[in-house]
Amino acid sequence: MHGPLGYVGKRLLWTLPTLLLVGFTVFVMVRLIPGDPALVILGDAATPDQIAGLKAQYGLDRPILVQFGLWLGRLAQGDLGVAITDGQPVLPLLWERFQVTAAIVFLAVGLAVLIAVPAGLLAAWKQNSGLDIAVVTTATLLLSIPSFWLGLILLLVFGLKLGWVPVIGYVPFGQSPTQALLYILLPVVTLTLIEAGVLTRMARASAIEVLRLEYVMHARAKGLRERRVLLRHVLPNAFAPTWTVIGLVLGNLLGGIAVLETVFTLPGLGRLLVDAIFARDYPVVQGCLLFTALIYVLVNLIVDLCYPLFDPRVAAS
């Protein structure tokens, strides 16, 4: 098959060996970490009998290759197993937690783009001016602040001192969109500010490069108004590299924003992964990382497929 569909099919096919490699690596690595899920569950009073019993119950007493083979067999049927700590099926668990993370990440990255792209473009347009320095300084400051610190400060000011928003909890959008927004407001703002810092710098750098190109000079020489030059000629070309960064940022964040989810007590994918690592809950760790890898691959595929919208040369090639 040729054309875009063939390209998508080929890319998806290529993800299979990648995911298999990720799966195997994760499977082995997670078992190489010292620590035993049976011990974490049973605690300091665990007897050898009890440890052996629990390991047998979850098949952890079998050779690692046998365990991997069984896991792979179940995976082929869409079954990621059950969590050792609470017996929940992993796949629905991942999906439930992913929705929380995705809601925050998409909102935050969307807002960050809306802030960063115009800010970067303006800063580039007014390079070395007071505005440029202000934008660059703010962006550098934002991307240098640790997310947990910013989150805690926002939580203390707007949640605790002013009492405008709840400091803990989560309400799904399906239950109440207004409440859902209220509960994720602070994490979204935190993430937006931090990601806006990253994207602003990228957008500015790309725009500066484009502004130096001859066709921009030509457009100006034709007598086009600056607004039209910027929006029609500079923005589309400058946005393409920023779009790539957006893809990378989305891929990274959708894998979990563990620190923010912990600070704001959100039941997201990142917190699930961290808790699972501490509990040595192998099926959940494996599921989370495989899921994250899949998301990363898919997001990058979507980014690649959208690229021709901003840069027709890519479509031609």
Binding site: I33, P34, D44, T47, G53, L152
Partner: protein
């Protein structure tokens, strides 16, 4: 239109914190992690026990002082040979589904507990591998159950009350689905399960048909009347987020305050602070088979180099009592022998080190930051021991790795915390044993093991005390570990909460607690 939109947004945003989920009739308590299940004593941890024991009750339960009292039983008779326990069930007790409590229900729950495939936490203690062997359980009549043991045990009732055994809670068969799988607890407790939203909260509602015992609240026993209509355990792993939630009114009670916040909370008028000494053990363990530390003189020298009261004062903000005994301070068996606290003796430590031929070899002390106190006292131990010429190097591991190394006995020295043991026999049992069979055991002393076994069979308190005093002396002479203290459980409640009290087990209890009207 714009004005209407702004007004609507203003209304939405001006809702008080947590308004969507918490009404004024809901008491909200923090949990630092999600529960593992609602199945008593099976897939569990301390949080699971705390929540589940609001819904199910056992035949007996722990009192405030860690002794055992009847709960669903109105009386317990022990035969003269100590092998037969006859439990007469209370009248008028019903399950959450309205069914009356009968002896048949006790047999049903017991059978499920003792089915090996279910992995009940305490099965090894009743099937002959541990404390005792229950050879028969029978219903004498609809309201009487008789347990027969292979041999007498001083700890049988304690075992039934243990929180990690799920209090051996009695539940109705409706707790299981048609396939025999656990559904939810249909118990006799003061609260019923409403909703468990994983990683977020567990909602319980009042059991309006609950028949409370007369008198006062007493540990997990006594009067357990539910006073609030709804109860929400809110899962907040992060201590800073929990603090913000408490101060902003997002939760009403945080049963687990970090020591560093105690002074700040004490100064606030909108909070009530309570501190209770728990029954866990914080200690520095030694590997007595280590080429260096197998010499008891070296272990004693380390102990002599430490100013234990100073360490405990620093770590617990003066809230906990230092103690070198494996028997926790709140225990009824904590006497003069256990309370002895020799003064720091750096010169004596140096002398002992010289006698042992110590030449400045490095001792690796494992610690974790999962429980900050473990890292803190590891650092203080390192600093104080250095004054006696000891070289201690700290290695920080995550909790799961530390637990793994502990279980394998793979360490030289380790900062460790043991969970609560409410009977001294169990305290000694947790550290004492044959290292060849169980490498996690810290104290491998055959004579001590014999004494410990005897303490489990003798029921007379004075005789048991004498045994524990003897064990204490041997323990200090061998010094397989340096016990420092039992942690303090500090809870904070907002001023709208009435009747909340912490206790030695540290687990939150919501019965007997109410919210002030209008709060």
């Amino acid at each position: 239109m714009t004005r209407k939109l702004i007004a609507a947004l203003a209304v939405a945003l001006s809702l008080p914190a947590g308004a969507a989920v918490a009404q004024q009739d809901t008491l909200r308590l923090r949990l630092n992690a999600d529960i593992r299940s609602t199945d008593p004593g099976l897939n569990r941890d301390a949080n699971t026990d705390a929540v589940v024991l609001h819904m199910v009750e056992g035949l007996v339960a722990y009192r405030e002082d860690a002794s055992v009292a009847p709960m669903l039983a109105k009386s317990v008779e022990v035969s003269p040979d100590g092998r037969t326990y006859t439990f007469a069930l209370r009248d008028g007790v019903s399950f959450h589904n309205g069914a009356p409590l009968t002896a048949d229900d006790v047999l049903f729950a017991w059978k499920r507990y003792t089915t090996p495939a279910n992995n009940w936490r305490c099965l090894p203690e009743v099937d002959g591998r541990g404390l005792t062997k229950v050879v028969d359980v029978a219903a004498k009549d609809a309201k009487t159950v008789v347990f027969t043991l292979e041999k007498p045990s001083a700890l049988f009732l304690t075992l039934l009350a243990r929180t990690d055994c799920g209090g051996t809670g009695i539940y109705h068969r409706a707790s299981l689905d048609a396939d025999g799988k656990w559904k939810e607890p249909v118990g006799t407790g003061p609260f019923k399960l409403a909703e468990w939203k994983r990683a977020q909260y567990i909602d319980l509602v009042r059991n309006d048909a609950y028949t409370a015992l007369p008198g006062e609240r007493d540990g997990h026993a006594g009067n357990k009347a539910p006073l609030v209509p709804k109860l929400r355990f809110v899962i907040i792993p992060d201590a800073s987020a929990a603090k913000a939630a408490l101060l902003s009114g997002g939760i009403d009670i945080n049963p687990d305050i970090v020591n560093a916040d105690i002074a700040e909370y004490k100064a606030r008028k909108d909070l009530t602070l309570q501190t209770k000494q728990a029954m866990d053990i914080q200690a520095v363990l030694f590997q007595t088979r280590d080429p260096l530390l197998k010499d008891a003189r070296l272990r004693r020298a380390i102990a002599m180099s430490l100013d234990v009261p100073q360490i405990v004062e620093t770590i617990t903000e003066g809230e906990s009592k230092p103690s070198l005994s494996i028997i926790p301070v709140p225990s009824g068996f904590y006497g003069q022998a256990q309370a002895q606290m020799p003064k720091r003796d750096v010169a004596g430590a140096k002398k002992l080190l010289a006698e042992a031929g110590y030449k400045g070899e490095t001792i690796k002390l494992l610690a974790t930051k999962r429980y900050p106190s473990l890292f803190d006292f590891a650092v203080l131990t390192q600093a104080m021991a250095q004054e006696a010429g000891l070289r201690i190097e700290i290695e920080v591991l995550d909790w799961a790795t530390l637990l793994d190394r502990y279980t394998k006995g793979d360490y030289q020295a380790m900062a460790f915390t043991y969970s609560s043991r409410l009977d001294p026999s169990l305290s000694f049992e947790m550290i004492s044993g044959d290292k060849d069979k169980q490498p996690r055991k810290v104290w491998d002393n055959a004579e001590a093991r014999e004494l410990m076994t005897r303490s489990m069979e003798v029921t007379d308190k004075a005789q048991r005390q004498a045994i524990f005093d003897e064990l204490e002396a041997r323990f200090r002479a061998d010094m397989p570990m340096i016990v420092l203290y039992s942690s303090v459980e500090t809870s904070a409640a907002r001023s709208n909460v009435q009747g909340y009290a912490g206790w030695a087990l540290g687990q939150p209890r919501a019965w007997g607690v109410s919210l002030k009207p209008g709060s």
